[in-house]
Every structure is written in structure tokens, then in C-alpha cells.
């Protein structure tokens, strides 16, 4: 408040206020929740569309699916020749089991459309034995309503009118159905073939093979590990009945990369997730699960929490008008850390009047916020685009440690990239670039030229074309920084060898080329410098970027075991009462006031694998009991309940090795 010369400090009048300060008008955390919900839905719908179209889920698979469909139609197109083997597709779908279901669903759609085949997916859960497998297969293939699932031997009473009827696990049903429908092949897909019993698979293959002259079966096996280990599980006899191809489904980390660049690192995104949370999500993908759905869920949850918890997120709504907003919204913006930074910067620049009006006038504030949302979004988009440019540059130069776009973007978004070794190394490489590589690089960059990257690539391309035309040798042009243009010279002066580097004399063309590369380098460096800002310094970065760790971690990476162990080992952490703080401030000490289960658990921690219950009881009685003989039965009851609770939690189990002992089965901290 530098607009005043001096201040009068008045003590706040405490008499009027209650000792605990209360808000006069309660801040309503749920204010304008419907609007925020609507904004969220709008934004998420855009993202979802991007996920769908980019997808990955459709696009990335389409090549593999096309191959599989071709394989099926090829194998079904030779019906004349009597087939002696079942055509088999081994689909190596990778270890992310959760994505197998959607994959086979999409595959089924395209098989039905393109190959004109019947398609049945079977999972291990619904096929515990051959009979159930066949029943399910028939039910799904013929879309028959199963009227008797209570007992397979039962059959509808009407059957006696029509003579012998097929049992409900007889493949004759499919034969009849096939007579009516005439499909070119019957594709049976086993979604999780590993989980099927090997004996069941052998039986099934044997059966299908003997029916092959009447029913055109095609088998598809979804495999999570490897085709070889799948083959190893089958007997040689059933392998003889199968012949086919292997199909590799796109690795999920490639899909994640595509998803990331479409949903986070794209230039059209209005709300972004921050570097911390994106690093967390990517690490989780790398370390624990590989699942695209999980990534989408994480992103969606981040969006949801952003709009739920933060009031200023309302400003993200498209064409929001001033009258839609309550003064609280502006108050909330004024409390943002980025607002303070911004205001302080303004004050440093001596724009006190403007700051005053920002603080006083909501209208002015609104204008500024709108303006800055635009400009900050622009800056963030430029940053994302620059990350893309950097990634493509590295790819075009074939630089050796391959850095994925997601990690480049994450580093850029945390503001680490400007002056980082990664960027410096890339720029140095550009300095030395020979002309053949530069042409490739320029071609790669031309695709990225646009609003967020306005460099005159075509002009450069023309220049270099002209230079190359005059170049009559086969060798590419080299810049003055290229190592091949250096040579070492040794001179011996007073018995000391001096090494000195000299630039070789450059040809005219090389000089012109060096000049060209120099200009290109300067431009690119300027671009990167301007683009790689620290987004956290932007005004309203809290609104535009969601980067809170807390609810995300708890929701996606809970620690159930840790929480239970902590609650039992130090109940004070959770109870927060005065009585459990322990003796003499020592929290670790046991005291009678702690819950009985916690006391027993802490004694349990100190014991070995086998625990003598009688010893445990006497120790417990010493702590929890009051030494009175009469109350002992009450203590015993508490003790027994505590022990039962431990058993219920799965921490102990009765032991058969020794009488009166229990076995410890869980160790703390694992």
C-alpha cells in the first residue's frame, strides 16, 4: 500500500467480536455449483470427443483389427477344400487385461460388419467346464433364450411331441442355426485364454475339430503374456488341429502417448492438468498398471475435482457475462496466489492506480480476468506446441536418448525446460546440422507451423534449395561448427606440445549455409525462450491448470494396508484424543486407554511367528487390567474380542503346530 505516506495502526476492536472469529456472511463452497457442473460437462465432452476420435482405442487398433478381419475372411473363403485344421488367430493383447474386453468388443463389431461371420466372445469366468462353455457358446451364437438353466438334464416338456430333441450343450443347435443363417464362419474368441483351464482348452479344440466338417469354426485367443507360452500349455495333439497367425496389438504405452498428446499437450485444451499430476499419472502407467481406461479416468477425475473444489473455475465457462457472477467470485480470484504475484509485480512497476481499481472494482476485475484467461491460455498453448516442436525436432535429428513427448511436456509445464540440458543439447545439435538433415528437419517443422509457431519455414526451405542446387559435390553442406571443419594443429615450442584448434577454410557455399543455419538457430532459440515459461507465474494459472495432488492420490492410489497398520500401531494418529497420547509424552508406549485391538496388535508386532496366547493374555492383562481378580473376566472378554478382530483382519490364524498358539501371518510395513 504504497499510495499512502503514513499509516495509523489501530488495534482491532475485540470487544465487538466473539473470541473466535466468525465469518459474517458464510462463504458458500457450493456457490454456483450447477454452472460449474455445466462448464465441466462442456469441457469434458470436448475431451471425450478427442479421446474417441484420436482414439487410440479405434485408430490404434484399426490396423490390427483389419489384419484379423482379413485373416478371418481369407480362412473362410476356401470352403470347398476340406479343412483339416482350425484357423486360429493368436492375439497378443498385452498385459493390460482391463482393456481386453473393449478390444474384443470392437473387434467383434468389425468382424460382424466386414467378414460376415458370427462372433462369440467367451471369458474364463463363464466357462468353468466344457458343458457350460458349450451352453454359453450356443446361447450367444444363436441368440437363443435359455429357458432351462436349472438343470441341464431337464428339457422342456413340449419335447415329447416332437421326438428326440438336442441337449442344450449339443453343437447341433449351432448346426441348425447355421443352416438357416449361412454364415461364412463362426468366430469363437476366448478373451482371456490364460485363465482357461488347459484341459478345457484341449477338450474344446478336440471337439471343434471333429465338428469342423460341418461348422466353419475360427478360433481367436486373447493372450496376455506370449504366444509361445500359450503354445506350451497345449498338447501336441491339439496343436496339430490348429494353424494360424499371431497378431500383436498396439502396446498400451504408445496409446497412452497418443492420448496424452491429444488431451493434455494439445493446443486446443481449455483446462490442463499440471505437471505434478501428469507425472503421477504417467508414472502410475509405467510402474503399476498399463491401462488406457485408467488414464482417461484419472483425467476425468482431475477435471471433476477442479470444477468441484475451485470457485474461480467458473471463469472457464465460455462467454460468461459479468451479471452471471456474484461478488464472491471476484473475491476468490483476489485470493489466488497468482493474483498476488501479479499485483505485486504491477506495484513494482508503479501501476498503483490500476491495482487499486482491480481491488475495488469488480467490473474492471472482470475485464482483466477475461483478458488474462485468453492470454494465459495462449501462452499455455504455445508452451504445448513448443514441446511438440522440440519433440519432433529430436525425432527428426534422431537424437539418441529417446524422450517421449509426455515427459518433455511435463518438464516444460513445470518450467524446468528453459536452459535445461535437454534443450541445450538439442540446440547444439542444430548448430552443427549438415544440410541433408536440415532439409528433413524443415520438412518436419513445416507441418507444425501455425498460430503457435510462426517461423517462415518455407522461406528457409527455398534458400536451402537454392544452396543445394549450387552444391555440385555429393557431400552435404556443413556449418562452421561442424567438427569436420575443425582441425588440430600441434606446435612444439620449447619442448612443449601445444595443441590448437583451427577452423578449416570454409567454402563459399558452406559460409552461406552456416549463415542460414545461424539464422535458423537464432529464431528457434528465441521461439523456445519465449515459449518455455513457467506456467505457475501466469496470472490465473490456478484456474487454467489443475495440479493438486491430494484427492487424486487418495482416490487412485489408496493405501489400505498402511492405513490399517497405522491405525492399529498408533491409534492416536486417528483418534486424536488426549488420553491416547501415551505415557510421559511417549506415543509409542502402550496404555490402558488405547483400544484393546490396538494394544494386542502392538504386542503382536513384537512377537515372533508363533504366538503363545496365554502369554499374550497375561501381557494384555498387565496393561489393560486393573489387577482386580473380579474384573478379570471383563478384561478377558475385551481381550478375546480384540483377538477375534485381529483374526477377522487376517492378521493371525490358529496354528496346528503347537497347542495354544496362533500364527502370525502379516508383517508390518509390507
Amino acid at each position: 500500500m504504497e499510495h499512502q505516506r503514513c499509516y495509523i495502526y489501530e488495534l482491532p476492536k475485540t470487544e465487538e467480536r466473539s473470541p473466535k472469529r466468525q465469518r459474517t456472511n458464510r462463504y458458500n463452497a457450493q456457490a454456483q455449483l450447477p454452472e460449474r457442473l455445466q462448464t465441466y460437462r462442456e469441457l469434458w465432452a470436448q475431451q471425450e470427443e478427442r479421446i474417441q476420435e484420436q482414439d487410440t482405442l479405434e485408430k490404434a487398433d484399426s490396423a490390427v483389427q483389419g489384419k484379423i478381419v482379413n485373416f478371418i475372411s481369407a480362412s473362410s473363403s476356401m470352403p470347398d477344400e476340406r479343412k483339416s485344421v482350425i484357423p486360429t488367430g493368436l492375439i497378443v493383447a498385452g498385459p493390460s487385461i482391463a482393456s481386453h474386453g473393449p478390444f474384443f468388443e470392437r473387434l467383434g463389431r468389425s468382424i460382424k460388419e466386414d467378414a460376415g461371420s458370427a462372433y462369440v466372445v467367451l471369458t474364463s469366468g463363464e466357462c468353468p467346464n466344457l458343458k457350460t462353455l458349450l451352453k454359453n457358446l450356443i446361447k450367444k451364437a444363436t441368440s437363443r433364450v435359455d429357458d432351462d438353466d436349472e438343470d441341464d438334464l431337464d428339457r422342456p416338456a413340449t419335447s415329447s411331441k416332437h421326438g428326440p430333441k438336442l441337449l442344450n450343450y449339443d453343437l447341433g443347435h449351432i448346426q441348425e442355426w447355421n443352416k438357416r443363417n449361412r454364415v461364412s464362419s463362426i468366430v469363437v474368441a476366448l478373451q482371456d485364454s490364460e485363465a482357461f483351464d488347459a484341459g478345457l482348452l484341449v477338450d474344446m479344440i478336440d471337439l471343434f475339430h471333429s465338428w469342423l466338417d460341418r461348422l466353419p469354426f475360427v478360433l481367436l485367443f486373447g493372450i496376455a503374456t506370449s504366444a509361445e507360452s500359450f503354445e506350451d500349455r497345449l498338447s501336441g495333439n491339439s496343436l496339430r488341429y490348429l494353424e494360424g497367425e499371431k497378431f500383436d496389438v498396439t502396446q498400451s504405452d504408445d496409446i497412452i502417448e497418443k492420448l496424452f498428446s491429444a488431451t493434455v499437450a494439445s493446443t486446443h485444451v481449455r483446462l490442463r492438468i499440471g505437471p505434478n499430476i501428469s507425472r503421477r499419472m504417467l508414472d502410475r502407467q509405467k510402474d503399476h498398471v498399463q491401462n488406457t481406461q485408467d488414464f482417461c479416468d484419472g483425467l476425468k477425475y482431475a477435471y471433476m475435482s477442479h470444477f468441484y473444489a475451485s470457485y474461480p473455475s467458473l471463469f472457464l465457462k465460455e462467454d460468461i457475462a459479468f451479471k452471471d457472477l456474484s461478488p464472491d467470485a471476484f473475491e476468490a480470484v483476489r485470493n489466488l496466489p497468482s493474483f498476488r504475484q501479479w499485483v505485486e509485480k504491477k506495484l513494482e512497476q508503479g501501476q498503483a492506480q490500476e491495482v487499486r481499481s482491480l481491488l475495488n472494482s469488480n467490473e474492471y476485475m472482470f475485464e482483466q480476468v477475461m483478458l488474462h484467461i485468453k492470454s494465459s491460455q495462449q501462452a499455455l498453448s504455445t508452451l504445448s506446441h513448443a514441446a511438440q516442436v522440440l519433440s519432433n525436432t529430436r525425432e527428426a535429428l534422431q537424437m539418441s536418448p529417446k524422450v517421449r513427448l509426455s515427459s518433455i511436456w511435463t518438464r516444460a509445464a513445470s518450467g524446468e525446460l528453459s536452459n535445461s540440458p535437454l534443450l541445450r543439447e538439442t540446440m547444439l545439435c542444430i548448430k552443427k546440422i549438415p544440410s541433408d538433415k536440415l532439409v528433413l528437419l524443415l520438412a518436419a517443422m513445416q507441418q507444425l507451423e501455425g498460430d503457435y509457431f510462426s517461423m517462415d519455414i518455407s522461406l528457409l526451405q527455398k534458400e536451402i534449395d537454392k544452396l543445394l542446387q549450387t552444391n555440385d559435390t555429393n557431400a552435404p553442406l556443413r556449418t562452421q561448427h561442424d567438427v569436420r571443419n575443425d582441425n588440430l594443429r600441434t606446435t612444439v615450442v620449447a619442448q612443449k606440445v601445444l595443441l590448437s584448434k583451427h577452423k578449416a577454410a570454409l567454402s563459399e557455399q558452406d559460409k552461406a549455409y552456416s549463415d542460414l543455419v545461424g539464422r535458423f538457430y537464432d529464431k528457434l532459440e528465441a521461439y523456445f525462450d519465449s515459449a518455455f515459461i513457467d506456467p505457475r507465474t501466469l496470472f490465473l494459472s490456478e484456474v487454467l491448470v489443475y495440479d493438486l495432488k491430494s484427492p487424486h492420490t487418495e482416490v487412485f492410489q489408496p493405501k489400505p494396508r498402511f492405513a490399517i497398520e497405522r491405525a492399529l500401531a498408533s491409534p492416536h494418529d486417528y483418534l486424536g484424543c488426549d488420553c491416547c497420547t501415551g505415557v510421559d509424552g511417549n506415543e509409542a508406549a502402550l496404555s490402558a486407554t488405547q483400544p484393546a485391538t490396538a494394544i494386542v496388535y502392538q504386542m503382536y508386532l513384537e512377537s515372533g511367528t508363533l504366538i503363545n496366547v496365554s502369554d499374550l493374555w497375561s501381557a494384555f492383562n498387565a496393561i489393560a487390567g486393573d489387577g482386580d481378580e473380579e474384573n478379570e473376566s471383563k478384561t478377558m472378554a475385551i481381550f478375546q474380542r480384540a483377538l477375534a478382530e485381529l483374526k477377522y483382519l487376517g492378521l493371525v490364524k490358529p496354528s496346528r503346530k503347537k497347542t495354544d498358539h496362533i500364527t502370525k501371518i502379516m508383517w508390518k510395513g509390507l
Binding site: L90, P164, E194, A224, G236, R284, K286, L670
Partner: protein, 485 residues
Amino acid sequence: MLPDEIIAQLISEYQCRDQQIHNLAALYSSHLPSPPCLDVYGLTATGKSSILASFFQLSSISHTIINVRECITARHLLERIVAASVDALEEFHDEKLDRRSYARTENLSALCVHLGNLLEGRGKFVLVLDAVDKLREGGGTLIAALARLGETVPNLSLILSTTLPLTPSTLHSSSISFLHFPSYTRSQLLAILGANPPKIFLTPPSLETFPDYTPDLAAEDDAWLWNRFLTTVYDSLSKHTGRDLISFRSCAMKLWRPFVEPVVSGQFGTRDFSRLMVNRRHLFQLEDSVLDRILDPNTASTSSQTATSTASGLPEPATPSKQRQAKMTVHDLPYYTTHLLIAAYLASYNPSRTDVTYFMKHTDKRKNKRRAPSAASFSMSSKRTGSKVRKISRHLLTPSPFPLDRLFAIFRALLVDSVPQVADLYTQIATLTSMRLLVRAGGAGSNDALEMGGKWRVNFGWEYARALGRSVNLEVGEYLVGGVD
């Protein structure tokens, strides 16, 4: 058709089965009585089913053939027998039967009644149960009861075909006729397969360049080379791996195209058998052609082979070691999942008392990795003490079960950094279980996934574990008790 004509036609169709065909024709002629039950037995691919089917097709005897492989339960078999008999009789006598009374065949007695009713007052009916020993849930007495059906239904004659002869103990009687289909001998196999040779040239050479190479000449060449080739394949491979017709044929067909490749490319003439043999000897040294695979190894390796063949002009013989390495490609698992699997392997194959030695956190990390005495020292010590106990390398034994907490403890010991206690680890265990890389092993409550204290076991071998370890820069062998060679 007259019996003699049938015999002549069958003999021309099925070589080297003259005696069996004569026997069948003698036993099942339309006017002479037939045995109530006949057991046709012989190993796989000896022509049992096809000859039976063709024979009854040609002879005008009412019959039905049921492939027992297609029957899931005994009930299913009984139902099929009745339904098929009804169909066959209707077709043979060209009349409409009242099917309503044959709606249910719950058990053997119902079958007896139904067949009795069906065949009453009719001529001979032959019921062929093909591969009756492949019935999935046959009760102990089912086959015996079926074999004695002829006693209650006089005009039924039953043929059971099995791999091995039915013993009197399964039949509960010794009065049954047998017909043996012996396996083909070497000369028979060669004669059968040599009858129709495949072509050397898939597209015949153009007439302009080779005007005198007529189709007749080509067929002669095909037959000459094919017969010599068959002899070689039999003596080098099939004799020791699979002597039945199907294995031999598939093996020969797999080898034929690569074998004649130099002839097609013009490197050797069609009658240059010895030089061709020397050039293609690697085909007979590998076991690829006798192994049954789903994926065709030729198509899989052609892409890699074309690269080498363009470089050297000739495709290099693939050595088995090369193949083995290419086989062990591990699908990328997430980082912690890989470590969990390695920990599970170590927990299965290391005795738990050595855990302290191997996994205690020392300041000196190298101390942990201790190699056990090598195989050489084992044999030395056993010689000195004279004990006859032979040690089997641990990784050849079945994995031993371990509790889940031991797995987690080893997992934490393997990782240098600390791991958060997240629920994801349990998710991964569940995922690995459904991929059958980890399986629950016996003990109480092994069916209940929530039951703690259950034991687990790994379900993969040493090579997979080693490949996993190498993908995360961890040499699993260093932590394995007993070491590995």
C-alpha cells in the same frame, strides 16, 4: 454292390489295408449273420474310421456311425445313439417313424428299450461307435453294457473302435471279436505317401525357354524326387519322432518346399539328389519340422530369412540356439509388476531360511549375491564321501508355495528405492493371477481370494524369469540359491 466289387474299390482307395477290408467284408455281409459286437482297434492314423465309414457307405446294410468324441456326457451319447438310429432307419427303409416315443433316453435301460422297439422286426442294423474310449465321462460299466447290447437286441451288431484293444476286465466278458488295424510299416508308409507326389514347380517353367520339359516329364521328376525325399525324411526324422501317417506326412510336407527351393531357383537340376541333399542337410538336422506349432515357423521366419538371404545369396541354416533366443521375447510389463514376478520366482525357488543371507539390507550390497558351489564341486564332494545322492538343480523342480508376505518382503528387498504401500500392488497380484503367472497353491481356503495366509506359486520357468530380470537390469541368477549354469 457285390462284396467283391466293394472289396476291389476299397483296396484301390486304401492301400495296404487289404486284410482288414477282407475281414470286414466277411463279417458284415447282408445275408450272413454278423457278430453282435466287434472291437476294431489300432493306433491313431491307421485308417479305422475312414475304412469303416467307406465300407458301410458302399455295402447296403442299414447302419449309423457316431463319433463319440462329439459327445460330452454319457447321456449325450445315449441320446445321440437313439436319434441317429431313428434317422438312419427312416432313411434306409424310407418310412416315417413315430418319433415321440423316443424323446427321452435317460439311461442305459431306456436305450435298450428304445433300440429293441426300433429294431423289432427289421433286418440287421450296424451301430458304429467311433473312438469310444474318448468318451469324456464314461461310467465304469458303460462300455461293458454297450458291448452286451447285442444280447438283448438280437439284430443289432455293434462296432466299437478304440486305440487299444478293450480288455476283458472293462468288458466284463471275454466273448467278443477283435479286428486289429496294425500301424503301417516303413515300406507301407512310403508306398502310401509316394502315390501322389506334390509338384516341384508350383508354376510350370515356361514352354518357350524349356520346350522339351513336358508335363509328363515333370510328373516323372516329381515322383522320382519325392520318393527319394520321403525315404530320407523317414530315416532321418520320422523314424524317431512320429511314425504314424499323419505326423510323417505333415513333416514331409513342411520340409518339401524348402527342400526343393534350389531346384526351383535353378541352382540344381531335378535329378541332382545327392547335391541337393548336401545343400539342404540343415533341414534334417533341426527339429522344427517335427514340432507341432500353431504358428507356421516358415512363414514367421521368412521375413528374417529373406534379409539374410539377400545378403549372402543363400539362406543361412537357422541354428537352434538362434531360434531359442528369438523365442524368449517378453511382453513389456510395468516396472513393479516385473519385480513382483521376479520376487515370486525367487520366493518359489529359494528356501525361506536362506532369505536372510540373500535379502538382508547390508551396507555392502555385493555380499548378498552369493554363488553357491558349482556343479563341479558337488560331484567332487560326492565322490569323496561316496554318497549316491544326486542333486537335482533347483530350477528343474516344481516351484514350492510361499505366503504372500514373503513375496512382498523379497520384492522390497530387490528394489533399491522404497515402495509406497499402495493398493496397486494387490491389483497386480490379482492381474498376474488371472494371467496364470501366479497361481494359488493348495492349502486351506485356496479357492477364496480374500483368505489371507493362502499360499502362492509361480507358473513360469527359469528362462522367463531371467528374461524378465534382464528387462529391468537385474540378474536373477545372482539371487538364486544354488546358482544356475
